[in-house]
């Protein structure tokens, strides 16, 4: 099942990148994708203990999270823009180091959370120690945003329900 998934992912990438839809090029693509899948399909999806169905559920919850993240990025970017154009910068910013526990377990969840925090302007992940995140925030508003629902949303995306 995973091999079929990897094969179709590779083939989609091939078709998009080549842009040629005649029989010759597509058969070349099918041949090389099959070769790569046969040789090195073990490299993708490290943890295969999850059932294919629950993995599918995780993927289906991802677009909602990504669109929410995009909206947060827009809001936070406008916030930073207003700070950098304000006449007295030093009174507008309150730089601070913030540390909190996330309670996430797998490395990939932590990666997604750290990446989301860093993508949102105004906060950067400095360190991850176990599940303790050390974050540098540029202002009180950005730091308050950390305590919001981001951790809960990441956990919800990757939660496994039987």
């Amino acid at each position: 099942m995973y091999r079929a998934l990897i094969f179709s992912l590779l083939l989609i990438t091939w078709v998009i990148l080549s842009g040629l839809l005649d029989a010759f090029h597509i058969s070349l693509g099918i041949l090389s994708c099959a070769l790569v899948t046969w040789l090195s399909s073990g490299l993708l999806f490290n943890d295969r203990s999850l059932s294919f169905y629950s993995r599918l559920r995780q993927v289906s919850r991802l677009p909602l999270y990504l669109s929410w993240l995009l909206w947060q990025i827009v809001l936070a970017n406008i916030h930073v823009l207003r700070i950098s154009f304000s006449p007295r910068v030093k009174e507008q910013i309150q730089p601070q180091l913030v540390r909190f526990r996330s309670g996430l377990k797998s490395d990939f969840e932590k990666y997604v959370l750290a990446q989301s925090i860093t993508l949102t302007p105004g906060t950067v992940t400095l360190q991850i120690d176990g599940d303790v995140f050390l974050v540098h925030a540029i202002s009180d508003v950005a730091a308050k945003g950390l305590m919001g629902s981001m951790v809960d949303r990441v956990r919800h995306v990757f939660s496994v329900d039987e």
Binding site: V15, I16, L17, G19, L21, L70, I73, V74, N77, V80, L81, I83, S84, F85, V89, K90, I93, Q94, P95, Q96, L97, V98, R99, F100, R101, S102, G103, A114, Q115, T118, L119, T120, P121, G122, V124, T125, L126, Q127, G130, D131, V132, L134, H136, I138, A143, L146, M147, V151, D152, R155
Partner: protein, 155 residues
């Protein structure tokens, strides 16, 4: 249809440029290394998304299959930047932090604000590893501590 997409792409690229300018101005005006990294490393996330979306709209204004593929490739560039840019920003700031650069604060004194956590609403508090030394006064955490203790006793 062509005109709508053209106007849309102009609006998108223009607003992306405004955000880029905000990032550059912030790079000059912010007071220390960390805050400047905020402006330099991440002021460009939204502006890159906006500008690539504008280019994709421009390409799509003459619609056929090939231009659709080109638009997908342009979006792939935006995805690549969203994956790599935070990583490099994080590494630069971590290098600065490990090197002992003091963060600028308004009050003049540094220090780390503890938020506690984990911010869990439901009853998922079991088996959170208790490796962490710092314990805040949060209620949720103390309950998780109790739970882990009772688990240890029962096992």
């Amino acid at each position: 249809m062509d005109d709508i997409l053209n106007i849309l792409s102009v609006i998108l690229i223009f607003s992306g440029l405004i955000f880029f300018m905000g990032a550059s101005v912030g790079l000059i005006r912010f007071p220390d290394f960390y805050t400047r990294m905020h402006a330099a490393g991440k002021g460009d996330t939204l502006s890159t998304i906006l500008i690539t979306a504008g280019m994709a709209a421009q390409v799509l204004s003459h619609f056929d299959v090939v231009s659709l593929f080109v638009a997908i490739k342009i979006v792939a560039i935006a995805v690549l930047i969203m994956l790599t840019s935070p990583t490099s920003t994080h590494l630069l700031m971590k290098a600065g932090y490990d090197d002992g650069i003091e963060p600028f604060t308004n009050s003049g004194k540094g220090g780390i604000i503890e938020l506690g956590g984990p911010f869990i609403k439901s009853d998922q508090l079991d088996d959170i590893d208790s490796k962490v030394k710092k314990k805040g006064p949060s209620k949720k955490k103390s309950s998780s501590k109790k739970k882990s203790v009772t688990e240890k006793n029962s096992s």
